[in-house]
Structure formats: structure tokens, C-alpha cells
Symmetry: D2
Subunit: 427 residues, 4 copies
């Protein structure tokens, strides 16, 4: 250790403060992710945000891709990181983004999914079925804004697309936002489905702003084509993978059955937070009139659902216990998928067999044999599109700029029909 004089000491002391303040978080996807603003750091530390650590981004997808255990917390942090890069890039091209705007748009992306509950889509289709996660996101943001003395007001404006500089909202929510860039990359990384890898670096380097709209410089056209296609493939290979669908439908049916029993006042083991929502039916209005509801919702996470389901696997209700035991031990239903609807006669034949085998009523069998549809749009031509910016300053929608992508193909919603039933049946 060298001798340090008093002047140096002062210098070092102030440096030590800087050392303490700089927060970096470790991400296997991007490496180091710095946290830029104090308010961001404080939001991350808030229990509302920390709960996202306990909510998996892809729900039950890990039953197919065992690495897919990453959380909404991690995704929000990643999207925040891309936002910082996008801001830097756009500024470097001569467009003004003030510090306040930068902070706000970063907050907006950080909190864009704050309202998601555990196994979000399953929950919305069963237990918390009158309130969307978008509603709850707004409730959380508004509550946080109060706690942070209005420091989130600008972020909320941007999030709701009420701020004049429209491109800021596009960075948070559009067909080429930081949300999509991060989740495609992250989901691809953790599932190991390399087809979904998106070159977020390249796309961000090509971002520009024209007439207050995000645009991608013409050099980036291939990356955008790739991005659209990668997203489409991730849908079919991961998000709508038939075994994932099977697992998620099983979970929906479990929660529906539990709700059915709860309505009949059957006493089920539950964590307190889950009990509140299972044994009551709340609307968005209730969330506003009873502020404590939001805090109870904030207590819910994947653990409540799984811990309860494991107990229900031994419940005396045969339907509930069979369904739960199937999920816990990964005895998932078989799924058939096709481009036309399934014939009623086929479905009925299977139902008859299952009813007989498991001694089920007409109503109960629907928990075991059920049909549905999934659909995906690769690109929505009816929404604000992705603009390509040419060197002469003109912009053209990607679907016109590309001589490769066929808009008629991509804009066509691909719809598939599926049918689930216990594996032992030969359809």
C-alpha cells in the first residue's frame, strides 16, 4: 500500500462513494447490466418489483424446455438494458432525448409487465378473471407513483402513449420494442432454441427516428426480416408448443376446478393470498375501492400456486386430485394439433371412453378432454408498422421495403386447432 497524502485522500473518498453507488447486475444474456438512475434502483428494490423474481416468464414451459426458468424480473432488467442502448444510439444520431425522458422511458420499460401474476394467462382464464394484467400494471404504477412522489408521472404518460414524443412509446410498446427484442433473445437463450436468436445489437445500431417515429436504417432490413421470422418460429416452437399448451390447459383446468369447489364452499388448502382470490370474485372496480387487494395480489407468486397444487393432488375431489397429480408428476395430456377443427364425433368418442374409464360425469369429463385454438400473427399490417429508412430520408413499411417477405403470407393469422386428452387413449 502506498502512502496517500491528504489531498489524494479526499479524492479517494469521493471516489469510494462513486464505487458504492454504481450498481451492476449480472446477466448471462448481455453480461454486465448497469443500473443508471437512483430511482430505477429504488424501484427494483421495491417489493412490488422483487416479487417478479418469483414469477417465471414462461410459466410451465420448463416442463418442455427445462432451462426456461427465467423470471419476469430478469426480462424486465434485460429490456431496461436494451432501452439504455437504444437511447444512446438514437441520441448519437442527433435526436434529443432529455435526461428526464430517458429516465421515464427506462422506468416505463422496467415496469411494463409489473401487473403480471403467477402463470399469468392461466390465472386470468380462471381465478382472477375479471381483471387483466394491464389493469393491474396501471394500479401498481399509480401506487408506486404515489410512493415516489410523482417521479413516475412522465413514465406513465409514455407508457399510456399520451406523451407528445411518440417514438418513446414505440420503444416501450410496438412491433419492434425493447420488450420483444429482449424476450426473444432471452427465451431463446434459456430454452436453448437457437432459431430464436435475434441480433438485438444490430437492430439497435440501426434504429433512428424520422418524423417522431422509430425507423430502422435500410442496412438493417435483413435483420428485421430475420426478427419477424424468428418471432414467428418461437411462437410455434416454444410459446405455442403443443406440450406447453397441454400443460397450460391442465393448469387452467386445475384452477377452474378449484374455483368451482371454492364457490361450493369446499375447503381447500391455500396460501392466504391465493385463498383471497379463490374464494372471492373481484372486479377491477374492487381493486380501486379496496386498496389492500393490490397488496394481497402482490403476495401471489408461482410458489403459492405450486405449493397448493401439490397439496390438492391428494384432495378427496377426484377430478382435482387427478388433474393436480398429472401436473405435479408431469403426466401431461396428449395433444393433437391440426389446421381444421376436430370433428365432434371424434371428441365425443374420446369423452365417452374417458368417462367410462375414470367414472366421470358429463361435466367432469370436460376437464380431461377439451379442444381449443391457438393463433399467431407474424406481423400486423393493421398496426403501426416497422419503418425502413433509406439514405434519401424516405421511409417505407418493412413489408414494402423487403423484396423477400411476402406480406400476404406474414399478415395472415395462422390458426391451429388442438385437442387434449389423457395419454392412454388411442385417438
Amino acid at each position: 500500500m502506498k502512502y496517500i497524502n491528504s489531498k489524494q485522500k479526499r479524492n479517494i473518498l469521493s471516489m469510494a462513494v462513486i464505487l458504492n453507488k454504481r450498481k451492476i447486475f449480472n446477466d448471462p444474456v448481455y453480461g454486465f447490466v448497469p443500473i443508471e438512475y437512483d430511482v430505477i434502483f429504488n424501484l427494483i428494490e421495491h417489493p412490488y418489483f422483487q416479487r417478479l423474481r418469483r414469477i417465471k416468464q414462461l410459466g410451465l414451459t420448463n416442463l418442455v424446455y427445462p432451462g426456461a426458468l427465467h423470471t419476469r424480473f430478469h426480462h424486465a432488467m434485460g429490456a431496461m438494458h436494451l432501452m439504455r442502448e437504444a437511447i444512446e444510439e438514437i441520441r448519437s444520431k442527433g435526436h434529443v432525448i432529455t435526461e428526464d425522458e430517458a429516465k421515464a422511458v427506462t422506468i416505463a420499460i422496467l415496469l411494463h409487465d409489473i401487473g403480471h401474476g403467477p402463470f399469468s394467462h392461466a390465472l386470468e382464464h380462471s381465478i382472477v378473471n375479471n381483471v387483466t394484467h394491464e389493469d393491474i400494471s396501471e394500479l401498481f404504477m399509480s401506487k408506486l407513483n404515489d410512493e415516489f412522489n410523482g417521479e413516475l408521472s412522465l413514465a406513465i404518460q409514455i407508457f399510456k402513449n399520451k406523451y407528445p414524443k411518440k417514438f418513446l412509446h414505440q420503444l416501450v410498446s410496438s412491433q419492434l420494442d425493447m420488450d420483444r427484442l429482449d424476450y426473444l433473445k432471452r427465451d431463446s437463450f434459456f430454452t436453448g432454441v437457437s432459431e430464436g436468436v435475434v441480433s438485438s445489437d444490430r437492430i439497435i445500431k440501426m434504429l433512428n427516428v424520422v418524423n417522431d417515429h422509430l425507423a430502422v436504417e435500410a442496412k438493417g432490413i435483413y435483420s428485421i426480416e430475420k426478427f419477424i421470422i424468428a418471432r414467428r418460429l418461437m411462437y410455434w416452437q416454444v410459446y405455442l408448443h403443443k406440450t406447453v399448451l397441454s400443460a397450460e390447459n391442465l393448469l387452467v383446468n386445475i384452477l377452474k376446478r378449484a374455483k368451482e369447489l371454492a364457490v361450493k364452499k369446499v375447503d381447500l388448502f391455500c396460501t392466504p393470498a391465493l385463498k383471497t382470490f379463490l374464494y372471492n370474485q373481484y372486479s377491477a372496480k374492487d381493486f380501486k375501492s379496496k386498496p389492500e387487494l393490490l397488496n394481497i395480489f402482490a403476495d401471489l407468486d408461482d410458489n403459492d400456486i405450486m405449493a397448493s397444487i401439490k397439496v390438492w393432488a391428494k384432495n378427496s375431489d377426484k377430478v382435482l386430485s387427478m388433474l393436480c397429480s398429472n401436473l405435479v408428476n408431469r403426466k401431461l395430456f396428449k395433444v393433437e394439433m391440426q389446421s381444421a377443427p376436430f370433428k365432434a364425433s371424434k371428441i365425443n368418442k374420446i369423452k365417452t371412453e374417458i368417462k367410462k374409464r375414470f367414472n366421470l360425469t358429463d361435466k367432469e369429463v370436460n376437464y380431461f378432454v377439451f379442444a381449443g385454438t391457438v393463433a399467431n400473427d407474424a406481423y400486423r399490417s393493421d398496426k403501426i408498422g416497422i419503418d425502413i429508412l433509406f439514405r434519401d430520408g424516405s421511409t417505407v413499411d418493412i413489408t414494402k421495403a423487403s423484396d423477400q417477405l411476402n406480406i400476404d403470407v406474414l399478415a395472415k393469422t395462422v390458426k391451429k386447432y388442438y385437442l387434449c386428452f389423457p395419454k392412454s387413449i388411442v385417438s
Copy 2:
């Protein structure tokens, strides 16, 4: 579709069967991992093994490295994959491994950690404290062996190092086993700590057997050096990271406090499986005399612990609720770490302050202020070492073969002292 004649049809039918049977699982670390044997597939499908999907490999490490959510299930599958490669490599060098042995050693590695409970080390230091996970592994294996009609007998022999071909046991458990190769690589991948990356490919390619002992061909010496060093660094950077230590100690204290209350017959919210172990004190002997205990243990996973802790955060016991709330909201204790023991005077001064601030008794304060030690050996010269095989057929221990590694340095146990206390205190 082309016309298919009847001979082709038969051919296709048998092929379809093959298609159905081949099982591949998706791993972001290795890509595709095939499952070789039916018995392996059936073991993986067993509830005892499926439960490992709900037990994180690195416990609370995700509080520091948010990607570290991978499970014991995933690690076991990865180690199985490396075992397959090792078997292939060793066979290609002219050593006999029969199909039965191959199957058995693969089963042995697949099940090597089957006895781990949730947050294993924390649990063993608090609730299930008279039974080690090694005991439970043996119980599970024995139980499975019964269910599988003795098909695991050879695997168990190898696991317990009672099989004559000793190198098979070394592949399962030694200073260079498939367990270590996988966990270093996997933990490095999911934490994003690239320093821990180990070239498992290269090491396996260099494996050989001499006199019934595993040996690494001389060309691989640098990879072995790197492996030992990477492991050492992973210890300090991840496994014994001071914030991870802080979180794990917090969890131990939570469970100890809960146990203390349980002993006093205080009624705590619990999942049934957790309740069994919290409110009773079982020994290894009990597990043998009451076979149902093992099944209850098999019901325990990370969800039981976290779901209960979230409820306890609102318990009327101040100590329990404070500790749990700290964990749930990631208000971790501050940790100081140093190479000498902390002075009693320092510890006492902090305790006094904390007692006063939170109005705690002499006993209670120990849940908030506590000291401990951690230690790590890079390489144990007292254990069976890693042999390096030279072209002349001679083998030499890595510590003698390397002109780079200093055995005196590496064999020295590095021990560090730590002190934890609430962050608000200035030590």
C-alpha cells in the same frame, strides 16, 4: 405424398415406432441430450425424479445472479449426458464397458443427488438435521430398486464404490467426475460467470483408464489445471459469494426460528409436508421404520419453503416476521469477510446496537448478528487424485505432473471468516 407399397409400409411402420421411442431433451448448455435406455427414461418419469424439477441447484444464489434458477433435475440430466460421452470415449480407447455397466453407471450419475431436499444445506442445518442427503439418496435408490425389480442393483454398487471396476465409481464421484464437470459448466452458464467455463469436451476426449483408474492423457494437462482453477474461482465468486452466504444464513435462521416456535407448539402456516418435518424430529432410523416418511419428504420442494416463508413474513413473532420479510423483499444482511476471526468486542458492539434498535433479547439478537467461517479446497491431495497419463504409459498425479500448479498453494484450505448484521449498522 408418394405412393407407398405394402413392403415399404411395413418398413415405415417399424420406423414410426422408432420415431416414437427416441427421446431427446433440450439443454441450452449441450444442445440435444438423448436418453439412451428405457430404464433411464422410466426413472426420469418417476415422481421422485420429477420433484428435482422443483429444487433449484443453487438455492438462493439467484438473489445475486438472477439467471441461476436451474434445477437439480437439469444438472442430473447434464451429468448423464457427459457420462454417455465419457463411456463412448473410454470404449473407443479399447477399454471394455459392458452394456450393463454403461446403463448402471448412467443410472448412478442420474441419481447421485436424488436425496437433496429444497435449499438442501439450509434444511440440513435446521429442520431435517439428523439425516443427511446422502442417507436419503440411498433410501430413494433402494426404494426405486424395489420398484424397478432390482434393475438398479449394479448402479447402487457402483455408486457405493463396491463394484470391482473402480474407474466407474470415479466417473460418478471423484475429483474429476461427471458431476463436477457438469455443475461447473452449468452454474457458469446460468450465472453468466464466464470464468467458470470448463472445457468438458476437451477433458472427456482426454480421459483414459490405466490400472482400473481414470487418467487424463498428458495433452489434457492444461485443461485440468484450468478445471481446478475454475472450480476454485467459482467457489469464491459464486458458491461462497458473500451475498449468497448472507441469504443462505438468513434462510437457516428463519428455519431455526420456525423450528424453535414449532417446538413450543406455536401454530405456523405450513404446507403439510413441511409441517411434518417442522413439528417432528426424525432420525435416519425413523426413515427406515416409517416408509411413508420418505414419500412425505419427496413432497417437499422449494415451493413449500418459499410459500410458507411469505406467510411467516406477517407472523406475530417479531423475529420470524422480520427475518422472513428480509428474505422475501431481498433486504439481505450486510456481510463482512476477512481472513482472521472477528473480534468479540466488535461483534458485541453490533449486537448491543441491534438489540436496542429492534428491542431484542440476548438470545433473539443472534438471529440478526452472527459470525461464521467458510472454507474451500481447490484440490485434495489426501484424496484419490487426478492422474496424468504420459505416452510411455506412466501416470503421475496432476500436482506432480504440472510445472505450473503449486500443490502447496492449492492444497491449502482457504478459510474465511464472515460476520453478518443488518445493513443499517455502520460497523
Copy 3:
């Protein structure tokens, strides 16, 4: 070192032989690549094959993507590696590939590009312009077959698609061969254009054989779609990148000018091998009648071309020296690219200006201002397609099996017109 008895010694000696024989080569793309057969090893050691170490796979592409310096040697080794994996996979599905066939198909892929000279396409359009690289590949293979006492006969049959088991040829040359799988992956790796990454692992795992044709199991359909699209994008982003086109056309013009001067008996500095081909005009027939020609051709590589061009940059012929100096110092021509032909008037205007500026004749100016076209087919529906194999045993062409790919779009040859001229001109 332990004591070794004489029996062990014998054991070790034979092991040492094995140690010596096993050859592994190091590839940043796949990791370790083993060399399976002695004949393969001996072919790789042959000067005809070693010369591929000095011929870059992507010619002048490194002027745009500086990492793209990988050689035809490296690509051939990579394709050999994928062939080994494909053989293993197809065998595991119950199809017979004998050891002789496996060896032969591996030789065939190893040597598939053996006839390429330096900057192959440029050379074929200028100096060695009456003989294709396919002609020369056959000459090399035939010559090697003589040297190897007929050991390549089966490989040559497969290469020429004269062997009954047609799927073996498809592995070497088809729309889904090991050649394409390797070059897309490798070119993507070394250029850094991540969009081109192809999941060769996944595709190979899905390979099967039906009615003696390669087929991809239905699960792999997304990977095939991705493969076709990745290839198309690699064409536009790398292979036909406009600056790459500019550099390659510059090289063609250099070689044409040199040839023009050579025909006029102007003495140019040349390596002896280059001199032979620059100052003579040989046909495929000549190669057969003068066996030494093939050996002289085998002496040619990238070094001959670049070393000569660097000297020509100081030649007294103004056209030659200007062109060469432009290439050496990377003063590449500007390229305009569009989907319609360039107007003669525009081209003439530029020519007039350049003629004046550099004091060139009407003929000379064509070395500096020139138009051309490039085209790419993503998928050729008129060729043997990629079959998708469904679980019922039926196969369907990818373009019909996919509800995503629009065959009309993909099968349409995309053609682009380009115009090159010195940068200083404003078009």
C-alpha cells in the same frame, strides 16, 4: 509414477499405439473433430488437400467482414464432421450404412470442393476460363484414386450420383447437404453475421431416410424453414454483399487485364504456377492429355494471386496498376444496386467522365465502369426438394408441408442489377 509390471506394459504399449493413431482436430465452430478412418487421414495429409489451407472459402469477403479468412480446408473438415454425425443418426434409426459406404460418403464430402482454385469464381471468369472447378475436382479425385489404389472408387460413385443408395449422394449434394449445413454455420461464425446461424445439430437429429431419400422428421419443420431463410439472408448480407461484389469484380478485371497483356506477350511478374495459366489457354482436354498441368494447378493458391497483384500495382500499364493498387489498398469501386437494369444513358455518362478524368480509351474504361446482375434462389422447386416425414410415414415437400413458407415467394429467383464505378464520381 507407479510400478508397472510386464503385462501392464504390453497393455500400455498397445494403448500408446491407439493414442498415437487417434487424430482430433480443433475447430472453433464444433469443438473437437475426430478423424475416423486412416484413408481420410492420409487424404488430408496429401498435398492436394493441404493446398486448401491456402485458399480462403470466401475469397475477398474479408475486405468487408475481416474475420472471414477461413479456408476451404476448414470447411471440408467441418462438412466431414457433420457427415459423421448424419451417418450415426441415420444408422440409429435403423437404416443400414455399411462401413465401406460410411467411409466413401465421408471421402466424398471431404473432397467435394477439392477442385477449387484461389478466388475460384474470379479465376474461372478470367484466367482458367475453359475448365470448371467441377472438372478439376473430378481430375483430382481420379488422380487420388490411382494413388490410393482404387480406395476412392465408391466415394467417386456416390459423388457422381451413380451409386444405388441415392440418399448418400443427397448427403453430399442436395438442397440439404452437409456442405450447406457447414458453410452457413461456418461463414456465419467467421463473419459474425449471427443471422446466418443454422442449427445443424437439430437438423441432423431430425434426418431420416424414406424410400432411399433423405427426409426430415416433421418436428424439424421449423428448423428447415429457418435454414432456408438463413441461407437466403446470408446470400444478400454476405455472399452478394455489394462491397464484396465490388471487390470480386475488381479482381476479375485485374485478371482479365493481366490476361489481355499476357496475350500481347507483355512480361508480367508472376509466380511460376500463375505464369503457366496466365500465358497459356488450357482446356479440360489439355488437363487430361498433360497430367503435369494438374500438379501445376495444385501449386496455385491465394498467395500467388495476391503476391502478383501487389507487384502489378506498380506496373507500367496504367489500367493494371490502377486496378491492382485499388484492390491492395482497399479503394473499392462504389456499387449501386437496384431491381431494374441501369439505363445506358447513366452508364455512358459515368464512362465519359471517367475516361476524361483518367485519360482512358473506350475499351479501357470498361475495366472501371461496369454493370452486372446477381441472382439468388432461396429454394428450387424444380430440383429434388426437401422432404418432410410425418409420423404416419408419409412424406411431403417442405413447401407443401409448411403453412408458413410461401413457395411462390421463395421459388422466385431474386435478381438484382448492379453498377460499379470509382468512388469519386457522383452518379
Copy 4:
């Protein structure tokens, strides 16, 4: 295309200028690498720098690791990229680096290796043997400074460590400079030796400046340990790999033999630039008195050497042709390596056998049988060390800060003796 009003048009025009000016280069190691300053861009375009595109970073290493074809151009660009990141990081911690200093230190790292010729070490030991590459670097920089009207003066000061802010020089040249960080990472990437991977991101994030010296914050201590060890391993596994040594010594001997013949006025095929240096003996003084020499040196690259050697393989001088043919066809000498000198008796025995077999004189045999030594220091304790910065502001040398690294081991120069001779001999 949307309608654009005249105000927008102006806006777009200025943006178009920005679009044109921003230069990005594509690196498979780091992704996109922007070029920050016009002067940097102009230096890169200069023929002196463009020549580095034709000089491989690792000489003949590609004969062992076929991917190792990356050039000094690529490495210089990569080091420039890391410098930009380091500047940004250091500035973010409150230390002043002016724009002029940033530009200068970036120029200094860009040009740090500009004086390297083809196969640099081989050339310095044979043909250009009175002038070091450091001498030539200074000549190039000085010449460029003239051409750029003094714009490089500050860069040269920093390069020569004559600028007051010493830490800037440390970024260019020290035991933890951007040169080392890049080459370890890049060489590891292109060889595929994953053991050498260095976390440049992490290290740069931990950089700080104390008392005008670079320091690494204490959190980065493990990364520094890893960096030192990775570098040591890369030395033994790549840079001093015995087959690489064999190839490089073969090249030295080729060039020595050629020189010997040149001195005797034997006429050898040569490119003009190579001829100049082969048939003359220039000193550093000559380079200063004859400015054209530097330009002739600038004409030399890997192509000159390899193109000439290929011709020499057919030379009538038996020694030269045998050596060259060995290199061209990769018939490398066998290498034995050990930690003690080889006995003269052993060397002599081999020489006798080789002399007899190839009918060589006493002098000639030394080209075929030769011994030498290689050595590597992991860390030089006698040089300016790597400082670790603790939170209290104190700094300590890494060797004292680490409880893991043993300075006595690391500081010990590891020296190995090697002996090369034709493969056919049994030693």
C-alpha cells in the same frame, strides 16, 4: 413513402450526413465496433494499416489450429474497441480524459503493432535481423505523423510513455493493457481454445485510476487471477505449442538458408519486396537514411513469403527445397520438449543418422536437427504490476492482494527445452 416538407428535408439531409459518416465494423468477437474519430478512420484506410490485413496475428499457428487465420488488422481494431470502452469506464468514475487524450490513446493502441512484418518473429531471426519491429513501428508512426500534419504527436508521446498522465500509457502497454485483453480473447476465439477466454467486459468494468496509475477494483480480483492464468495457459497451449514451435523454426531455417544462398549470390525467385531484404542487409540506420526502404518494407506481407517458399520447394538447393516442401505440405519436424537441456550425445546421434540418410554436410544437418528453448513468465513482479484497489482507497499489488496466487510460482520463468528433427527418426 410519406410526404416530406422542406423543414423535414433539411433535417433529413443533415441526418443523411450523419448516416454516411458513422462507420461500423463487424467483428465476430465483439459484434459491432464503431470507429469514433475521422483521424482513426483515415489511419485505417492508409496503406500502411491496410497491409496488416495480409499479416496473420499468429503466423503459422493455423497449421495446428486451422481457425487461427485472423490478422494483425483485426487485432488492432479489437484493441481499439476495448480502448473506447476503457476510456468510457474511467471517465464514468470521475477521472478526466480529454477528447484529445482519448483520440491519442486510441491512435496509440491502433498503431501499437504497425511495425510487424509477415511472420514477424521468424523474419526478425533471419532476414530483417538488425531492425526490430519496435524500431519500424516508430518509423511508421513518425512517417504517418508527417502525413497527418502532426495529428499523431500526442499519440506518439503516450506510446513512448513520455506523456505526464501515465495511466494512458498503461492502457496501451502494461501487464493489463488493451493489447493483451484483445489478443487473449481473439486468439482464444479463433483457435477454439476456450480455456483462454478472458472476461474483458468484466475487467474493463473494474478499471479505475489511483494516483495516475491504472488499478482494478477489488471485486475484480478473481477476474485478474483468471486473466493471468488464462494467459499462461494460452502460452503453453497455443503460442508455444510444440507443433507451432516446430513450424516456426522450420520457417526460420528456410529464411536463413535462403539468406545464406542470397549472400552467395544464388538467384532465388522472390517478390521484389522480399528480394530487397533478402539480398541486402539493412540496419535501423539505413531505414532512416533511405526513406524508400520503409515503403518497400510496407509492401511485404504473408503472401510474399508463402508465394516464394512454394517456388523454392522446387529449388535445386536440396536443403532449401526439402525444408520448403516440408512446410508447404505440412510435413513438420517432430518436437520433443522437456524441462532439462537435451544431451549433446542424443542430438549428435540424431544428426549422424540424418546426415547419413539425407546425405548432408555437418553444416547442413543443423537445418534439420536443432535444439532451443522457450520460456514464459506469467507475471513479472519486476515490472509495473497490476494494482488492486480496495474500498478504503488503498491499492495493493495483485500478488499481495490475492490469497490464491502464489507469486513465487507465477513469477518464476518457466523454461522448456525442445529438440526438432525429421519425423522418421526414432529418438
